[in-house]
Symmetry: C2
Subunit: 206 residues, 2 copies
């Protein structure tokens, strides 16, 4: 009766604070809902620039930005997640994004993304260096050298640029963004709705 | 032990689509939580202009605007509320705002606000006319002439202008916005969190 393989597409950026919340939540929530996650790391910066914004709206709009940090502290308390306001925001994360993209179909992608997010939003560490990424991959007992090489290959870099094009084509204007079939859900606040939509047969019509 | 009189301050605008959701939800949700609602109708337009925006971000940002209408349809389905996308957005509503402001401490304010919101977001009707407001007040069996007179008095108009000043001073940048003590919560998605905060004694410290 129900769709055999419900899938949620998860578009996120390592510098995005609300992506921190959903990256830490999504795998467990999806598992409970019987849904699999398709990890879609991308860079929000180029998307913002194409929309005419020089950086995050939380930086451009002072009032909204100040509120966001209060909201984050409360949301992290609600979800039981550690939180430390990053001293640099939004943090660049090209290399972690390339690694997550190269590993997006693997068993380790979720764990890798959670650890990188933890460094940014719970430990206030810069994350866009080979040293930091290698530290995380080593802790996960993964082959550091070959993964860093694959991640930085011309092919994978081209794939990351394509992610920006795809994001724009699909109407993405922020992160996190979830897709269930063609239906778009924006923001960590919509994760539960998106997972619920995975179970509605209508969502899987072409 | 707990605070004797938990109160949620509810700042909303009759033209704001997400205010439609919380206006229809708040009184019942607050009652279940043992919280009373302090109605704070205001005009978002002047606040947006002071922030440098000529109109709603949903109009200024095409991608976000298009998403918003999909999201509204889904949210209304989730909450069991009727929905029809307004042909005019954001709809002017100075007179309903004046009436709600004049009646903000009365027993009928919640019912009045729900009916006005219903006209805008479920019946796609213009709401900023004495005829329409009178229709609603009549349906509620309220003294139309005296309420319209009070609402449009110089005192009440001055009070509405003060609402804009207060909104800016408190850091409001959108609607709906809830306050629990000094803590601000933005968006219909935070209504439940704000009501939960009403029950935390810490929220009531000066």
């Amino acid at each position: 009766m129900s769709a055999p393989h419900p899938v949620i597409e998860y578009w996120f950026d390592f510098g995005s604070n609300y992506s921190y919340l959903s990256t830490l939540r999504i795998e467990q929530a999806a598992q409970l809902a019987g849904v699999s996650v398709r990890w879609r790391p991308f860079l929000l910066g180029p998307v913002f620039r194409e929309l005419g914004w020089s950086t995050s709206p939380f930086v451009l709009q002072k009032e909204k930005g100040e509120y966001t940090w209060q909201d984050m502290a409360r949301q992290c308390r609600k979800y039981g997640l550690p939180w430390r306001r990053p001293s640099r925001f939004p943090r660049p994360a090209v290399l972690p994004t390339l690694v997550a993209l190269a590993g997006s179909g693997t068993h380790w992608v979720g764990g890798f993304c959670r650890l990188m997010m933890h460094l940014n939003f719970a430990e206030d560490r810069d994350i866009d260096s080979a040293g930091t990424v290698a530290e995380v991959l080593t802790a996960m007992d993964l082959p550091v050298a070959s993964l860093l090489e694959d991640a930085q290959s011309a092919d994978n870099r081209a794939r990351l640029r394509e992610q920006t094009v795809l994001a724009r084509a699909r109407g993405i204007f922020g992160a996190p963004t979830f897709f269930v079939g063609k239906e778009m859900f924006w923001g960590n606040d919509r994760l539960d709705d998106a997972l619920a939509a995975c179970r509605e047969p209508a969502s899987f019509s072409p």
